[in-house]
């Protein structure tokens, strides 16, 4: 990986001067600023919702070297927001799709493709070659990993996160400024805060938040303006409101405080309460589960049972299984009296996670004949009725 080239070596070609004309004629950028952008090395972690606008605009702005970290493949559910990928990219590696789009926008930049899941083993080696790290990941373990790696290496971390209609952005790891652990010392326990995959996200939202991150990165490189250091920007798209909260450096922060206790990367899955090695999905069914094919066979035989759908009403509108009763997971406790423990009860959701929780609750409430429909309505669509849409 290259090191920072001496400023004297950098210059713009005739083509680049024409391309960056609108930058060159503004005093805040000018030739000096454009050369700073050209020499800058920025790492984007994730080429998803936030990474898409980041990659496209930073490429267009002329950031000389952009590293991309991703190991995922483009699927149809990405296209509602990940505008760096197109319909014909479905099935391709996100890295390839993103790099192609960025090269089409600007062939004068270098792109590094890091096809890995960022981990405690590889993070320092990847991050060390860049000046600025931009966090566009979608899970707590990686966010703490990125934070800690940036602090250990002395890198600035431009942070953004999104949920449904809300976004947060700030700049962590600037000398003297706060870090992610100063804002949130600990992650939420698993299951308490839903991800975008579970909770949904307005497709436009990552565009806005990603471009706030891109703006901050460009400002930091140019050394212009007032970066979001020590300020947490909150964006509420539904009410179209921006707010700013004071973000202080925590003097007793375990990684950026005066007496740090964290000197190397830790096990972030363990830190976030997620088992490091997920048990491999069992091929068979447990005694508390039923396969969708077995459920279908029971329906065909006309057996008597109650099928409970614990998804949300808006999911029920998208698709449903025959003769199911809708009781959203959050309502199961207060509507438990609608169910009869004498009945045979099968519970399903989208993929089987929420219905497993509902089954646990029902068993604790004295229901003996309750089983989870393995794989949920997605499995039903795959194995029983392909006309049921997947979402």
């Amino acid at each position: 990986m290259s090191t920072l080239a001496p400023p004297a070596a950098a210059q713009l070609s005739k083509e680049e001067i024409l391309r960056y004309s609108r930058h060159l004629i503004m005093p805040e950028v000018g030739m000096d600023g454009q050369l700073k952008l050209k020499q800058a090395k920025v790492l984007l972690i994730g080429t998803g919702g936030l990474g898409a606008p980041l990659g496209m605009y930073l490429a267009a702005a002329g950031i000389g070297r952009i590293g991309l970290v991703d190991f995922d493949v483009v699927d149809y559910t990405n296209l509602q927001r990940q505008v760096i990928h197109g319909t014909s990219d479905v099935g391709r590696k996100k890295l390839d799709s993103a790099a192609d789009t960025m090269r089409e926008i600007n062939p004068h930049i270098d792109i590094d493709k890091h096809e890995v899941a960022l981990s405690s083993e590889n993070a320092l080696g990847i991050l060390k070659d860049y000046d600025i790290v931009i966090d566009g990941t979608d899970n707590f373990p990686t966010r703490y990993l990125v934070n800690d790696a940036c602090i250990l290496l002395g890198k600035v971390n431009v942070y953004g996160s999104i949920f449904r209609f809300e976004g947060q952005s700030t700049v962590f790891g600037y000398p003297g400024g706060p870090c992610y652990r100063c804002l949130y010392p600990e992650p939420p326990p698993p299951g308490l805060v839903p991800s975008c995959a579970e909770g949904g996200v307005l497709g436009i939202l990552p565009g806005v938040v990603g471009l706030i991150q891109a703006t901050e990165a460009v400002k930091l490189i140019l050394g212009k303006g007032e970066p979001l250091i020590g300020r947490l920007l909150l964006y509420d798209a539904l009410n179209m409101r921006f707010r700013e909260l004071r973000l202080r450096k925590n003097p007793v922060c375990p990684i950026c405080g005066d007496n740090r206790t964290i000197h190397q990367l830790i096990d972030y899955h363990q830190f976030c309460g997620i088992p490091q090695h997920e048990p491999a999905p069992e091929s068979g069914v447990s005694e508390n589960e039923i396969e969708v094919t077995a459920l279908k066979a029971k329906m065909d035989r006309g057996e008597k049972f109650v099928l409970v759908d614990v998804r949300e009403p808006h999911e029920y509108q998208i698709c449903k299984m025959p003769n199911s009763v809708l009781i959203p997971l959050g309502d199961v406790a207060k509507r438990v009296n609608e169910l009869n423990s004498a009945d045979e009860i099968y519970v399903h959701c989208k993929s089987g996670m929420r219905s497993a929780k509902a089954c646990d609750f029902l068993r604790q409430s004295g229901f003996k004949k309750v089983k989870n429909v393995k794989g949920g309505i997605l499995a039903w669509s795959d194995k029983v009725d392909p006309s049921v849409p997947k979402y």
């Binding site: 998803g48 999104i162 010392p185 600990e186 995959a197 990552p206 909150l234 707010r243 909260l245």
Partner: protein, 91 residues
């Protein structure tokens, strides 16, 4: 009455409202009024031991109560209390 701004992930516990007006002259009192009115919110804000969860930050206007007087931070009529939980989405 102080206004408490409720973030999207917690609105499901407060009848889908984005803000709730509650009485109280300190942050502790305001949050007690709030969680008395909406008991389902309680486990999302506090641990079983009654401690404010460490991934939930509370601000009075634009200041984090951890750097003021925590639960005892005073709240005036015109103040806004904001609950800001950790969110991780990016994809």
């Amino acid at each position: 009455m102080a206004k408490v701004l409720i973030p999207t992930p917690l609105r499901q516990y407060v009848d889908k409202k984005d803000s709730v007006d509650v009485t109280g002259s300190t942050v502790g009192e305001v949050l007690t009024s709030l969680t008395t009115q909406y008991p389902d919110l309680r486990k999302n804000l506090y641990t079983d031991e009654g401690k404010l969860r460490s991934f939930v930050n509370i601000y009075v206007n634009d200041e984090d109560i951890r750097y003021m007087s925590k639960d005892a931070t005073s709240v005036a009529e015109a103040d806004t209390v904001t609950i800001v939980p950790s969110i991780a989405g990016g994809f």
